[in-house]
């Protein structure tokens, strides 16, 4: 029983990491309807930039600021050079454009900083701590706390600031927002910046866990079932979806994996997601889209 609980909680905490990536997706999807495949590349790009700055003896704080500035530049460029020209095109076209963008970002990151695996030390030891008799990873707890702070900050931003209100207005009804004088390109730059920064934080956490390397881009593939389960346009959904995926994937790996030869983590969440899709096409928290014929 203790082992089951430990697996479950470990999975839940790992799921938080998936949620962090998924939140970046949700931000962009809500504000612009773009399914941003480049989120994983943004995670890699920011983490790699940060680590390379640290390795060049830039202080921690400076590296944070420079990387954040770089992500702002990436967001502005994405809007100026890509999105601006694809307004009113089918969503699938935009998806493919972000696929191209992810190739550009991956290539640029590795051409600038090399393809080696970089270690990243945030100063948190990954030692097990005992809470209520359960042995949990201290790092996972730190990651969950970070995610909680992040969600609080994002909701404060969305509810208390002027730009946050316009973000929500655009997410609610782009046409009405436009007619009230909200400038869409500006909103897009904002959400891409936010998504880039969220990706940066996710990149720091993932990078210090498993090293900053190319495989960071693969977290985008982990985030997809999370999004399907939670719904594309709900931040709470991203959190809950991450928890569900993290927990079920660990449980499946431990209890079902040995029967079929292991390694089922890669596809199990997807099957879960597809199963859910057939029952609830808008995810657990998503808005059911009303389609006009």
């Amino acid at each position: 029983m203790g082992y089951l609980l430990e697996t479950l909680v470990g999975g839940l905490l790992a799921g938080i990491m998936y949620s962090m990536v998924a939140i970046g997706f949700v931000l962009i999807y809500k504000a612009s309807g773009v399914f941003n495949f480049a989120q994983g590349a943004m995670v890699l790009f920011s983490a790699l930039t940060f680590v390379s700055l640290i390795e060049r003896n830039v202080s921690f704080g400076c590296a944070l600021i420079i990387t954040a500035a770089v992500m702002v530049v990436v967001a502005v460029l994405a809007e100026r050079l890509v999105l601006r020209f694809l307004v009113n095109r089918p969503p699938v076209t935009l998806f493919m454009a972000t696929l191209g963008l992810s190739y550009v970002l991956e290539g640029t990151a590795q051409a600038l900083w090399g393809a080696d695996v970089h270690g990243l030390d945030l100063g948190i030891d990954d030692v097990p701590v005992s809470i209520l008799g359960l042995r949990l990873s201290r790092f996972d707890l730190f990651a969950s706390a970070t995610a909680a702070v992040l969600v609080v900050l994002l909701s404060l931003f969305a509810n208390r600031t002027r730009i946050g209100r316009s973000l929500r207005a655009v997410a609610d009804d782009p046409l009405a927002a436009l007619s009230l004088g909200v400038r869409l390109p500006k909103i897009w730059r904002w959400v891409w910046t936010l998504a880039g920064l969220v990706g940066f934080i996710a990149g720091l956490l993932w990078g210090s866990r498993s090293g900053v390397q190319f495989s960071l881009t693969l977290v985008v593939l982990k985030a997809m079932p999370v999004l399907i389960i939670g719904g594309f346009d709900s931040i709470e959904g991203a959190i809950v979806g991450g928890l569900i995926v993290g927990a079920s994937e660990k449980l499946a790996e431990v209890y079902v994996g040995p029967i079929v030869g292991g390694g089922i983590e890669n596809w199990f969440p997807y099957f879960l997601a597809v199963g859910l899709l057939l029952v609830r096409p808008a995810g657990l928290f998503g808005d059911r889209a009303v389609v006009r014929v």
């Binding site: 050079l81 694809l86 076209t93 454009a97 191209g100 991956e106 399907i228 594309f232 596809w267 899709l277």
Partner: protein, 338 residues
């Protein structure tokens, strides 16, 4: 579109070029390292184009269908001695088609990105299946399989020129079939479902059946392409030959070549294969080894990414559409249409 040259003349010129001029002009490197993969990737692109370009269902599971084709063909050819090679290839295609219909079932309720996620699920499942169960690779511990020699009706196809003939024949026949499908009633139904499935349903087109047929036919093409990739181009293979990157490669072929165009699949495949080669030649000629292979592949990634975005913005119908525009201009030169 009306053309001054009838299709028959164009087709026969193309056949003369492929049958008489290419084998005479190309050396072994060109045949086995460029022409054979070009033809096979064109076939895979053609398959995906039927599904995505014509029927409007985006899939990123192409590599999974290719792997299914290759492994089925391998198991048929190695476990059932005496089965002709072409039958094994067809079996590979059929197995992939079955998987494709299965993967397309969710399109009954969902579309767009959600369908992309379904095909991703298939992609990861198939990768895992062929890696986790060694039975598929004849219980070889490394997962690597050696294909049997390529012999069809007593003819030996094991040299580069034989590879070329074999692939050319299969690709030519399947391209001809695809062209006829596209121009048939079924092809029109694909277009109707792509452009507006609600309207298609209203005028009496069975939408689900049409989508499933698109998935099945497309996956058959991808399966045969996978069998050829494994048997003819690679010779010995393991599941890593068909990872997600391959799916993206085929998707890029049709984006660059032209969605909804048969010729586009070929143009796109040629472009995808030749551009990296051209880039590495240029790099070695101009920069004389200052750029190593790893860096070069990063630059190639950037170039491909930029090209994808460029084509989506400027020419959503790809190189094929640029080609048609050029043709139109040449035909009325020196007058101008605009």
């Amino acid at each position: 579109m009306s053309s001054r040259w009838p299709a028959a003349i164009k087709a026969s010129l193309l056949i003369i070029f492929a049958v008489a001029i290419v084998p005479w002009a190309a050396d072994e490197y060109w045949l086995s390292a460029i022409l054979v993969p070009f033809l096979i990737l064109s076939l895979a692109g053609l398959g995906l184009n039927l599904l995505t370009g014509f029927a409007g269902q985006l899939s990123v599971g192409t590599a999974a269908f290719m792997a299914t084709g290759a492994y089925t063909a391998y198991n048929v050819a190695s476990r059932l001695p005496g089965v002709p090679l072409l039958v094994a290839f067809a079996a590979g295609g059929l197995a992939a088609a079955l998987l494709g219909v299965f993967a397309g079932l969710p399109s009954w309720r969902i579309k767009g990105f959600y369908l992309v996620v379904c095909t991703l699920a298939v992609q990861f499942f198939v990768e895992w299946l062929f890696t986790a169960f060694r039975w598929f690779s004849n219980d070889n511990s490394s997962g690597q399989v050696e294909v049997p020699p390529l012999r069809i009706a007593g003819h030996d196809f094991n040299d580069p020129i034989g590879h070329y003939w074999l692939v050319l024949a299969i690709v030519a026949v399947l391209t001809w079939v695809a062209r006829n499908i596209v121009h048939s009633e079924l092809g029109r139904r694909f277009l109707a479902v792509r452009d507006m499935d609600t309207a298609a349903a209203v005028i009496g087109i069975p939408v689900l059946r049409t989508k499933l047929l698109a998935f099945g036919i497309s996956s058959f093409y991808c399966g045969v392409a996978g069998a050829l990739w494994g048997f003819v181009y690679l010779g010995s293979f393991d599941p890593r030959a068909w990872e997600l990157g391959r799916s993206f490669q085929v998707l890029f072929i049709i984006i660059i070549g032209g969605m909804g165009s048969i010729a586009g699949s070929f143009v796109g495949a040629a472009f995808m294969l030749l551009l990296p080669i051209a880039m590495s030649h240029l790099a070695s000629a101009w920069l004389s080894g200052a750029v190593d292979q790893g860096t070069l592949s990063n630059y190639q990634k950037i170039v491909f990414g930029v090209l994808i975005i460029f084509f989506l913005i400027k020419e959503p119908l790809g190189l094929a559409s640029i080609g048609r525009a050029l043709q139109r201009r040449v035909r009325i030169w020196p007058l101008r249409q605009w």
